[in-house]
Amino acid sequence: MTQSITELLRKTLLFAGVAESALAEIARSSREERFDEGDRVYELGDDAEAIYIVAKGRVRFSIGVGNRAGTDSVMGPGQVFGWAALINERPRRVATADCLEPCTIAVIPAKALLMIFDKDRASGYLVMRRLASLIAKDFMSALAV
């Protein structure tokens, strides 16, 4: 399982350029979970303790009221969601994530990830910089509503 998560991390844009040793450590601290069609990964108000990468299937990610239909809120393989776990104090979910079909998802505990980045700050800087771009993109999309 660790090997498949490492492979997934290598293919995920958010983690591009991260040192192999850090990727291996992230994979070791992560787990793969299988979800049925219709299962909810998390919902509004849940504590945010992990980030997620879709390995297989499609996940519908809805911020807030979540009625703004659009394909950009459907996550496929290699896409990351749930990054709020990395950026806030006592973070809680302000979105819901639902599986539109049977899914395999890598679950990366946020605390472990931040500890790994504390040790390998160059890798952490890369990821956080991409995360900032991701958040800015979401923010700009929201402004365009």
Partner: protein, 347 residues
């Protein structure tokens, strides 16, 4: 036609006649299928055909972007049955729906049409038969001139109600609102399916309530205020209402709010938040029991409510960016549990 619904928790069956939408047929027969908007927007009622065929409904329903046609996926709120069929529903059956009044079809005659502001109108439907609903619920209105139904929250509250009041905001390109705003419509007949929705106020919960509403989103909040008033809520609990509009010319329903606030012994606190400009003195003088503030309504609510979230259930409605801002505030700042934050997914 016989419809069998398979779910992870077992199978249920119901009858569906003619071109009736599968969701509507199920709900009126007490089969609590998952739904939220009931009008093709949210996708909560997604299902998949196992056998038989469903007849296609509104092709442009926004929630179709979440479907995979090659998997036989469709929306229960949009499609009807082309014959007996078996479908698989991925969402959870919602048992809490069973404790709410069962929806049914009604007909009503439009009356009391009035423009409240430049882009908001009110109207009433005098129903042919009484309807029972819970404050905060909505109904789907259909007219022959426009394809598909539109969901609107009831403004008034009575048990049972022979008259339903609604508000509607003019929406450029919105066929229903263009129809309503185009001419005098009193006397028009309208089909009503309802009541629907789970974002409801129940006096027996015995909680303080907080309403954060923007523009015409205040509709359901008015029913909550009326329901709470009728149930004697303000004799023992508090209500906090924050009503956001752009300018002082966009306010409406302040007479009703003032009336209840005056009688509430201070237990209904209504704040009108203007996102642009200050409330003029004459408005403040006319509504002495209401408070006025400047700012986005969720920000005004956050400031005023600090430290007052004990035993509170919150209701949110309005334009999506406002609702998102309010939900974020209630979750991150107020730290309310999700079960105590209620809103509907139509807008």
């Amino acid at each position: 036609m016989k419809i069998v619904v398979q779910t992870k928790s077992g199978a249920r069956a119901f009858d569906c006649a003619g071109d009736e939408k599968l969701l509507y047929a199920a709900l009126r027969q007490g089969v609590a299928l998952p739904y939220e908007c009931a009008t093709g927007t949210c996708g909560t009622c997604k299902a998949r055909t196992v056998s038989g065929t469903v007849a296609p409904g509104w092709a442009a329903a926004p929630a179709r972007s979440y479907l995979k046609a090659d998997r036989g996926e469709f929306l229960l709120c949009q499609e009807s049955a082309a014959g007996d069929c078996t479908v698989f529903v991925t969402g959870k059956i919602a048992p809490e729906i069973e404790s709410l009044p069962r929806p049914a079809y009604h007909w009503g005659t439009l009356g009391a049409y009035a423009r409240l502001t430049a882009d908001v109108a009110a109207f009433a439907l005098n129903l042919d038969h009484m309807m029972t609903f819970v404050p905060g619920q909505f109904a789907v209105l259909t007219i022959p001139e426009v394809d598909g139904g539109r969901a609107y929250s009831m403004v008034n509250f009575a048990i049972p109600a022979g008259r339903l009041e609604f508000v509607i905001k003019a929406k450029p390109g919105g066929k229903f609102s263009e129809w309503l705003f185009a001419a005098e419509r009193n006397g028009a007949r309208m089909r009503v399916y309802g009541p629907l929705g789970r974002a409801v106020y129940r006096s027996e919960e015995d909680k303080n309530f907080l309403c954060i509403a923007g523009g015409s989103g205040v509709a359901g909040m008015m029913a909550i205020i009326a329901g709470a008033d009728g149930a004697g809520h303000f004799a023992r609990r508090r209500g906090y209402v924050f009503f956001g509009v752009r300018t002082a010319t966009d306010v409406f329903f302040l007479d009703r709010m003032e009336d209840v606030a005056t009688r509430s012994g201070g237990n209904l606190a209504v704040t009108v938040a203007l996102s642009e400009g200050e409330a003029p003195e004459d408005l403040r003088a006319r509504y002495a029991h209401l408070r006025f503030a400047t700012g986005f309504v969720h920000a005004v609510a956050a400031q005023a409510m600090a430290g007052q979230y004990d035993n509170v259930v919150a209701f949110v409605a309005g334009p999506p960016p406002m609702v998102d801002g309010a939900l974020r505030m209630l979750i991150m700042d107020a730290r309310l549990p999700a079960k105590d934050i209620r809103y509907d997914k139509f807008g």
